[in-house]
Each structure stands twice: as C-alpha cells, then as structure tokens.
Symmetry: C2
C-alpha cells in the first residue's frame, strides 16, 4: 500500500465536508481529484486550488485512485459503494465520512475483496453547507471516528489513520452500532430538539413582534443546529432511525419527569435534578 | 426627580447581574452603593472600585437612595419589596432585574404611594454567577425590558430608560403577562431542554467512555444553558409556572409530531418540517 504522499486520492462530493478535506489534503498527496455532481462545483474547486484534477464522472475516474473518500449524504454513499466498488483499483482504500455507520459498514462488507474499506465519521461541521463554506481547518482538533471491518488490513487502517492525523483530527476506533447509538443522543437528538424548539416558538410567540427583540442567548444556542443541511439530516435520520427514536423516547420521559416536578411544586426534587444537570454539564465542558 | 448623574443609586445583590450593573454605572451617578448579604462580597466590590459605598444592611441604607435596584432572585425580590418599601425615600425609583414579571409587578403595585416602581428584565446573562463574573459590558447591546405600572410617573419611566441606555442596552416597554409568556418559550424552556438533554445523555451514553470524545458542537451548544445558576432558575420556574408548563406542553406535542414522521417514515412530512425549522431559524438569526 502506498504512503499518503505517494497516493492519488479521489474525493467524491465537494460540499462542506469533502471540500474541506480536499483543502486540508491538497499538497500532501501526489494528486487530489475532486468529483462533484455539478460542473460548476468542479470548476470552482479547481479555481480555489484545493484539487489538482476534477470531474463530474466518478465512474471514469475512480479506477485511477489509490484512495477514494465518499463525502456525500449517507444514502448516496450506500448507492455509490454499490456502483463504484467493482471499478476501484486493486488494494484501493475506500473511506466515507457519513454520520451513521451501521448501514454503511454493511454495504462496505459487500464490496469486492480486492478493496480495503474503512468507515469514517468526523465529529465536526457547521450550519453552512456547500463548497463555499469549505475550510482547510474544519477538522483541526476534532475527533474522527474510524470503523474498520474484519476484512480491513492493518495497512489500510494505518493509512486511514494517517489521513485523519494529517488533517489535524484525532482518530477514535469505534464499532458501527456503538457509534450510531452515541451520536443518536449526542448529535442527532440535539438537532431534533433544536427544530422542535423553533416550531414551538413559531406556535407560541411568533405572532408577537416583541419576540424578535427578546430572543436571548439561550434560545440562539439551543436552536443553532436547526440550521443544518436538511438533505444530510434526512439521510441520517433514515439510517439511524431506531437509535434516534430510542434517544428521543428517553428524552421525552426525562422531560415529563422534570415538568411533573414543576407541576406538583416538588422543589426539592426539582433542585436535585437541575443541580445534577448543571454539575454533569460542567464536568463535560469544564 | 433628580437626573441619573445627580442620583444616589443603591443596588441590592452583587452577583453577576447586580455587580455588572454597578460596574456599568459607577462614575455615572453621584454615589453607587452596593448591598450584599455577605460581608466578603461587599469588601470585594469596594476593592474592585465598582461601588462607592457598601453594606450588608439594606434596611439602614435604602432610605438614603434616590434609586434602588433589586438584583436578587425573583422570590427574594418579592420579599424585599414588602420589607423595604416603607423605608424608601419620597419619590424613590425602585426597579428590579428579575426574569419573571407578573408576581413582581403585583408586589410593586402594593408598594406605598410615595414610591415609583418600574419592573425590569435585561435579556442577557452567562453561565457563570457571582461577583467574580461581573462585567461592565454585560448589558451592552442587550434588550432590557421595562414594565411600568399604571401608577408609574412619566419621569420615573424616563429615568429607568436613561439607566438602561447608559449601560448600553436597548429599552423595550412590555407588560408583565406578555413578557412572561414570551420568555417562557424563548428562555425558560431552552433551559429545561438543556437540562433534560444532559439527563438523557447521562442515561444513554455516559457509561461509554467514547461519549466524552465524540461530544460534538451540537450537544455543547444545546446544553450550554444547563450551566445556569440553579437558585435563580428555581425562582423563575416557581414564579412563571403556568407559562412554562404551557410552552413545555406545546414542545412535547411538536416533538411527538416530529418523531412520528420518523417512526412511520413519512419523509415528505419530515422534510417539510425540518426545512421550515431551518428557514425560520435563519430568519431569526440571519
């Protein structure tokens, strides 16, 4: 297996995640090829100097690459693994950056045997999408989950780890089901809550023009992730449905418990619960 | 009624809010007196140079002041209005900075007739509490709600408005019940959701050490206000119970609707709801 600096890497999808990866890896590989659906995206990426070559035709290009990274929404990744797998070069490392892993790892296990798959999930992002939001420093300091399969060679996992480290992230090896349950609570549920809070404000306060003047920091921060890309989130929710519903159900029970303390004016119970939440939050983010 | 620069202002409570107010007003009034429960707090505020005089004895001091600002938790404010009202000087402006207004305005309406009450609520804060977190710039750029009573004179309201403007905030005149319903959704509910999300993570992920490595920005932002001061929040929840429970109930219904789309895999309904939330969020915070 070639070293990263000797490799031709093809990144499929030049949105926020793929564009940022190209920007972070450009100059650190032999060739960076960018593949996007739209011609204008490819032209823009070439003009920015974050890719060496570009095309809209993944089928024609992937056979030349030593490393292929799928930076598209989860269900597109599933389709691309199926379509492109047979065209990949011998020993090619194929990685993805999808936010849910169970379904992707399942699709990766069906790839032809000459390919080396590793699931990937960088724990970062922002509420902007598209190439214009790409940033070579996006991954800097972030945790980057890597999920090797049983069939993945030690060398392939090492190469994936090198990519992660070169872009400034910290690799964390984690199985698919475990990561999906964790991100259901720590990432997907916060998104649902943010959207629901926006809907609640819309139903209860939006008719009052004063609402706009008094929206405080709490509301702004709690709703921030409601600005996330909807197509990306739909794929995430569709491919992590059980884990997300389980987390939402626990949340609902906990909210009922909290509001019941308020309803019955059990101030001691309420104080304990709020204090516990505060301590726990401060422990996570000192 | 004296101008602000000729006034002796007494601030009761030298925590984050009162300490920041003292810092912002010091040098802009004839005298700033700070009143705190603990002797050390008074000593510290004097040492910082944010007050001219200090005492732990509100009863002895308030009669000298032209303006009294209550910067204590809501239920303490209710008690202090009752206890200190008769001791206030003739024509004294009495303001508060409590986060709920209905109960406070009710207590203000029972003040002796020689006093001029105006309810106040600055829409800012941070997750740190106490004098050490005080900051002369805390109010800069914030909306500061003012709730005059029928009995409040034009001059008293103008003086309150001057205070708000001098500390860099923007006054917004709003009635008590209306502000309480608005902040229930825009401030108190986000706090409950933040605490509940912390409880949910505690129940579903905290046993997994990887959780600490993958907590992403969404979780961090959505839980930020769970770090708020618990005593302050208990007073808020106790004095805005009906409005908070109403907002929480709407939230619960909206969350049920969202999760039911996920459960039955109604992707069109889900897309519409998520897109609407995104657009609405971007409209509020462009």
């Amino acid at each position: 297996m070639k070293s990263l600096s000797d490799s031709h890497i093809a990144i499929i999808g030049l949105g926020l995640m793929g564009g940022s990866l190209a920007a972070a890896l450009h100059g650190k590989c032999r060739v960076v090829t960018g593949i996007a659906r739209r011609r204008e995206t490819v032209t823009e990426a070439l003009a920015c100097g974050i890719i060496d070559r570009g095309t809209t035709e993944a089928h024609e290009m992937v056979g030349d690459a030593d490393i292929v990274v799928l930076a598209t929404p989860v269900r597109t990744i599933l389709q691309q693994l199926h379509d492109l797998g047979p065209r990949l070069s011998d020993g090619c490392l194929v990685m993805d950056m999808g936010s849910t892993k169970t379904r992707i790892l399942e699709a990766m296990s069906n790839l032809p045997p000459h390919v080396q798959p590793v699931g990937g999930h960088p724990m970062c992002g922002k509420e902007l999408s598209g190439l214009a939001a790409a940033d070579a420093k996006l991954y800097s300091g972030a945790t980057f989950i890597l999920s090797p399969l049983d069939r993945t060679s030690v060398e392939a996992l090492e190469l994936a780890r090198t990519i992660v480290e070169v872009i400034g992230a910290t690799p964390l090896i984690l199985g698919g089901a475990r990561q999906d349950q964790l991100v259901a609570t720590l990432s997907h549920l916060p998104y649902l809550l943010a959207c629901t809070l926006v809907q609640t404000a819309d139903a209860t306060t939006s008719s009052d023009p004063a609402a706009w003047q008094i929206v405080a920091g709490g509301y702004r921060d709690t709703t921030r992730v409601a600005g996330s890309d909807v197509s990306m989130m739909l794929d995430i929710l569709a491919t992590n449905r059980d884990a997300v519903l389980k987390s939402a159900s626990v949340f609902r029970d906990k909210l009922d418990q909290l509001t019941s303390y308020i309803t019955v004016q059990d101030e001691d119970g309420l104080r304990d619960l709020l204090t516990d939440s505060r301590v726990e939050r401060q422990r996570m983010f000192p």
